[in-house]
């Protein structure tokens, strides 16, 4: 098992290098050189050239990339053009809000989505199932920023129940969590329903029926464990998706998390922040997917056996 974990961790490294390479190259073609961005357009040309040289901008891209990677390995993602603070510091100070939002949303979405998906599969074509299918398609079609705005309209502006801006209290998190969590719950419910239906069609379910097991026993003992395994993967993916989805939601609800930081940075061409946050979130995504695989390996006897 430990060997497997180490192997998987090592396999992540080339992907990280590739991710950094991709992001580095995309951002490298962004118009405007860093010194002009830092000093402003009106600064004297010599000062701009001087600073660009200090930042290593005169060196070829490949060399700068290698430097970035070696620095990143030491958790040094550079310095913000705007605030002058280190990027890692900036990310770490903003990330807790984003993480809190994502974790709360994933909890809410799985608590709503998974049970609904199971029930809907068991009662296929019932009123509940049809309602769920339609409403989950509806939620899958609602962009987060609009859902957020509608919630603000109803709960803040019309009813005055919830604050629409900031992160002061737990109340501030209710609407953002719903905005992120509801569509994700709908997604999970749909996926759970599909895997559950798929599982219920398997031969071993028929075997269990032939043994004389009752429907509830078949569901609890035979179907659930098999059906929920793929759901774990989807849970991991939706968690990773939620981390990305916070970008817009933070903007709508004025939450000072990593998402709003990234948007500001992109608008201000604060490349080191954009670069660092993108790399950070991508690595996080890989780690989440790795954890999912490990959980998988732990509960599925077939995979477990392969690892021995």
């Amino acid at each position: 098992m430990a060997k497997y974990v180490v192997k998987r961790l090592l396999l992540i490294i080339p992907i990280i290098l590739l991710v950094i390479f991709i992001v580095f190259n995309i951002l490298n073609i962004t118009p405007g050189d860093p010194a002009t961005i830092i000093l402003g357009k009106d600064a004297p040309q010599e000062a701009i050239d001087q600073l660009n040289k200090e930042l290593g901008m005169d060196k070829p891209v490949m060399q700068r990339y290698l430097k970035y990677v070696t620095d990143a390995a030491k958790l040094d993602f550079g310095t913000s053009y705007r605030s002058g603070k280190s990027v890692s510091e900036e990310i770490l100070s903003k990330f807790p809000t984003t993480l809190k939002l994502a974790i709360l949303s994933v909890i809410v979405s799985s608590l709503i989505g998974i049970p609904l998906g199971i029930v809907s599969a068991i009662r296929q074509y019932s009123v509940l199932d049809v309602t769920l299918t339609v409403s989950s398609l509806f939620l899958a079609s609602v962009p987060g920023f609009w859902l957020g705005l509608m919630l603000i309209l109803i709960f803040s502006l019309m009813l005055g129940l919830l604050p629409s801006n900031g992160i002061g209290s737990i109340k501030h998190y209710i609407m953002p969590v719903l905005t992120l969590g509801l569509p994700s719950a709908a997604f999970l419910a749909r996926m759970t329903r599909t895997t559950m239906l798929e599982t219920m069609r398997q031969d071993y379910i028929r075997t269990a029926k032939a043994k004389g097991a009752s429907k509830s026993r078949i569901i609890n003992k035979h179907a659930l464990k098999n059906a929920l395994m793929p759901v774990i993967t989807m849970l991991g993916m939706s968690f990773a998706g939620l981390l990305g989805g916070t970008i817009v939601v933070e903007l709508v609800f004025g939450m000072p998390g990593l998402g709003s930081t990234i948007i500001t940075a992109i608008k201000m061409k604060d490349i080191p922040i954009v670069m660092g946050s993108t790399v950070f979130l991508s690595i996080l995504f890989m780690i989440i997917m790795l954890i999912v695989d490990l959980i998988y390996a732990f509960i599925d006897p077939r995979i477990k056996a392969q690892l021995k």
């Binding site: 398997q202 075997t207 043994k211 004389g212 097991a213 098999n226 056996a305």
Partner: protein, 324 residues
Amino acid sequence: MSLLEIKDLEIIYTNGKNVVQAVNGINFTLDKKETLGLVGETGAGKTTTALSILRLLPERTGKIINGSVNFDGIPLLDLNEREMQSIRGARIAMIFQDPMTSLNPVLTVGEQIEEALMLHNIDNESKEEITKRVDEILTLVGINPERKKNYPHEFSGGMKQRVVIAMSLACSPELLIADEPTTALDVTIQAQVLDMMEELKQKLDMSMIMITHDLGVVAKTCDKVAVLYAGEIIEYGTFEDFFINKAHHPYTEGLFGSIPSIEDDAERLTPIEGLMPDPTELPEGCKFHPRCPKCMEKCKTEKPKDFIKGTHSIKCHLFAEEEN
């Protein structure tokens, strides 16, 4: 009284648009300790018939539209779901074709056999007694009881089928339905498994329905044979009627013609020409007539009756002439 009696059973499959007539009015009986062979090509309605006895047809698509199934005097089609559950696995058990997929991959084989015992634990046996029973059954099918902690993927195909058999025999059922139990296995393993089933059947005083397309398997295990074609029993009789008598339905003759034999020095096998008819558009008259080498004008329009001679019954116009 016979153990199982099936009368005028008719089953359809429907998906909203097409209606497939899978079983079209079949009759047969099975006595205690008897083995009936249900023979026919893929799509003849063998598995459908078997599933209908246990009422395990696909809920939404499969429908029994006519007929009755009596088991030990109980009209199975009239039972409610709960009553049916107490019969499944306990009094009638079924073995499915593919042992690779018929075991739950996330439960150990021990747990799966144990479940069958727990579900029908009429004598209120303790946990230890059940565990002991699991060991006994595994030994019975030739598996080391220590392997009960293993998962299905750790067994080979033949071993898995042994596990499936163990599971179905756990509660000593009176009737065992075996749906092509050896088709998915290697030829060498097939014989082993068949021998074991035959032996266990004797030991446990069971009746058995052996579904197969292999006349060799029938010859080896069955007391009675029913040949299914397009959802109808076209020939029905005892072992002797089939393997000693010479009068057969042309389709059965075709089946015999498709088996290689060491004794006959036939130059080549004589397969049956053509394919099973599309079950959504069955032909008029005798359903076999488009493929029948002895087809007459009458066969194209008129449905043949069952022509009965002692225990032997054949659904073919050829024998009507013989009778006259």
